[in-house]
Homo-oligomer: 392 residues x 2
């Protein structure tokens, strides 16, 4: 019972602080999302020490980001994602190569061990599509070409990140199993291909059929939830992130389910998203600011992380013109929880020092906080107002 | 990351199995809720061993039942609860005294220790209003007089249960601190009185005021969530169950918030309620069926639990006539998670044996599974069809 009380207190503190911070940020004409992340930093072990990051909060945050991506998926048709496929592939590939090289080069220059440099490079590769998706959805920009490219590139990026992490992890253990690597790639790509290519058609057949036979109330929503949880799980088994499965589940249903399913899903994501956002901030370790050298390294890494991703992804979208290049580059900047996971794996192998771990987490949090502002600038250049609105 | 995968698998298995079981039960003209509880028994350690009850699932279930009660609260006006106050008080008091005496008497007859008999009596007192609330809401019966009495009595019952538990716990430690007991009672009653009496008026003033000043999207829902989490937390600090706070939060908002808030809340509760229901079943320990003596004791305790609650609560509602007496008695039968918590406290004090613990958990699960069917019978006697429908 004590734990339940603590959880409830944490939920109350995080939700309330995040929403107050978001309101304050909006009032200062800053992105509310950055405020919600900052709320996590404030409440966390670094500053007020009111909330301890723990397994329960992590679980709540993870369920939250699943619903966030599911809801975004509901707004996207598979055909639209396939159409931007070639551009998105180029964006993803260059958006992986440039930051990886950048991160590796900075660390190598400081004289770090080879494997440490490679791990930091791998952490720079990660893209956390949740933040960008939230901004685009809130501003009703999901139907724009640049948004489609970002979402498709994020899906491909996830597979590439998986492979790079597998290679770097293999190197840290002294050997790479190429057969296993090929199997991993095949499984991940096969899973995505099957869902993107046939998912919408399958649900388009099966759901109306089930609706004729079953009569439970809220049946469509329950079926949607089964697909959401099932595809997230399968994605994880296929080696890619659960959120990619959640996104694909939403996309698969985008042409089948009613508006009511959108609103019911919105209820869950509105409740849980603040825990995902603040959860990113909760993990920031401010010990990074204790030594001057570490501060400098952190700032350099942050700058390289932002610039390299924008250049890499931007170059990949060369054909779409300068303003879409900027938008796509900005949309791929946040490293969020994905960058942290890579750093954690490196730390668990004992190949990343404690200081460097804090630097990478700082980079992940800071890129995530900067991205909404970058996206606002990128889309403002079109002359569109930064209206705040929501999904149905 | 391993834990996240396990959690996702558990969530998928529980949600899917619960919904399939509910559908099967409805098809057999049995209450779907009983099916969802049975799904938990099936998946749990007793049968298929696919899902291990753990802290994460408990947390998800607890958040789920908060939203379930919140949603029920949204359908109830404070004034309607106050109007049935005197009857509800009588229902609650007799619904506590008769089962407590019944449980104590059975155990005393078997020659159990005094403190053990008292603890079983205390576990028989508990009422889990979540199940009844779900049935009444699904069948759109929340506006009926008997439903009001059940909800009000459940609130009062919670305070009485708290006091009995405090007394029994004190006895097991060898002393009762009457001053502390008085303080506990005063705090719990004071909290409820303030919220029921002034809550609706306060939110009716404050929410429109905030809506004029703030412009965040889904503001009403966010404010509702802050109140839900805040009052659940305060309820816990005041010594009563968090779900009572959640119910009162909903009631406080019932005349203020828009239909959209109802639907968004429904999204969360539709997603999470199966984990609450199956979670009850997950905890069933089938070792109770290993010894013949234990089986007999379990069946006797179950019978006494059902009959004593129906007689006690029914007598309290004497003035309302026979059919409402039956409905109110049936509605108070489920012991659910509340009965389990009392048994757990007894076990943690070392005053309840392992076998008896399993018997009490069996009683809690079985009363909960029987209640929806009892409610169906009780309301069918009115000639109303058992139509399955939902909240907005």
């Amino acid at each position: 019972m004590h734990d339940a009380g603590t959880l409830l207190l944490s939920l109350f503190l995080i939700f309330t602080t995040a929403k107050v911070a978001a309101e304050l940020f909006e009032w200062m004409r800053q992105p509310g999302i950055a405020g919600e992340i900052l709320a996590g930093v404030l409440l966390g072990p670094g500053v007020l020490k009111l909330v301890e990051p723990n397994e329960l909060l992590t679980a709540v945050a993870q369920i939250g980001v699943l619903f966030l991506l599911f809801r975004v998926g509901l707004e996207v048709k598979a055909s639209e994602l396939i159409r931007v496929g070639p551009t998105a592939t180029l964006v993803a590939v260059l958006g992986v190569l440039v930051p990886f090289t950048g991160g590796w080069a900075v660390l190598a220059y400081t004289g770090a061990a080879r494997i440490e440099s490679l791990f930091v490079g791998a952490a720079m590769v990660a893209t956390s599509v949740g933040i960008t998706a939230r901004v685009l959805a809130e501003r009703k920009l999901l139907q724009e070409r640049a948004s489609r490219v970002i979402l498709a590139a994020a899906v491909i990026d996830d597979v590439l990140g998986l492979l790079i992490l597998a290679i770097v992890s293999g190197l840290s253990k002294g050997q790479i199993n190429y057969l296993e690597l090929g199997g991993t790639a095949l499984l991940a790509i096969g899973f995505m291909f099957l869902v993107v290519r046939f998912g919408a058609r399958a649900t388009g057949h099966v759901i109306p059929l089930l609706e004729k036979r079953l009569h439970a109330s809220e049946l469509q929503f329950h079926l949607a939830l089964v697909l959401l949880l099932g595809l997230s799980l399968l994605a994880q088994y296929a080696g890619v992130a659960a959120i990619i499965g959640a996104f694909l589940a939403g996309m698969t249903l985008s042409e089948t389910v009613s508006v009511r399913v959108h609103v019911l899903s919105a209820g869950v994501s509105e409740f849980l998203t603040p825990f995902f956002l603040a959860g990113i901030g909760l993990n920031l370790d401010i010990s990074v600011f204790a030594k001057q050298n570490t501060v400098i390294l952190a700032l350099v890494i942050l700058a390289v992380a932002i610039i390299s991703k924008m250049i890499g992804c931007g170059l990949g979208a060369w054909k779409l013109g300068r303003s879409d290049m900027f938008r796509i580059g900005a949309g791929m900047v946040p490293r969020g929880e994905v960058g942290m996971v890579v750093a954690q794996i490196g730390a668990s192998f004992g190949v990343i020092s404690k200081d460097l771990f804090a630097v990478v987490v700082f980079m992940a949090v800071a890129t995530t906080m900067v991205a909404p502002a970058l996206l606002n600038i990128a889309w403002r250049s079109n002359g569109k107002p930064a209206a705040s609105s929501v999904l149905p």
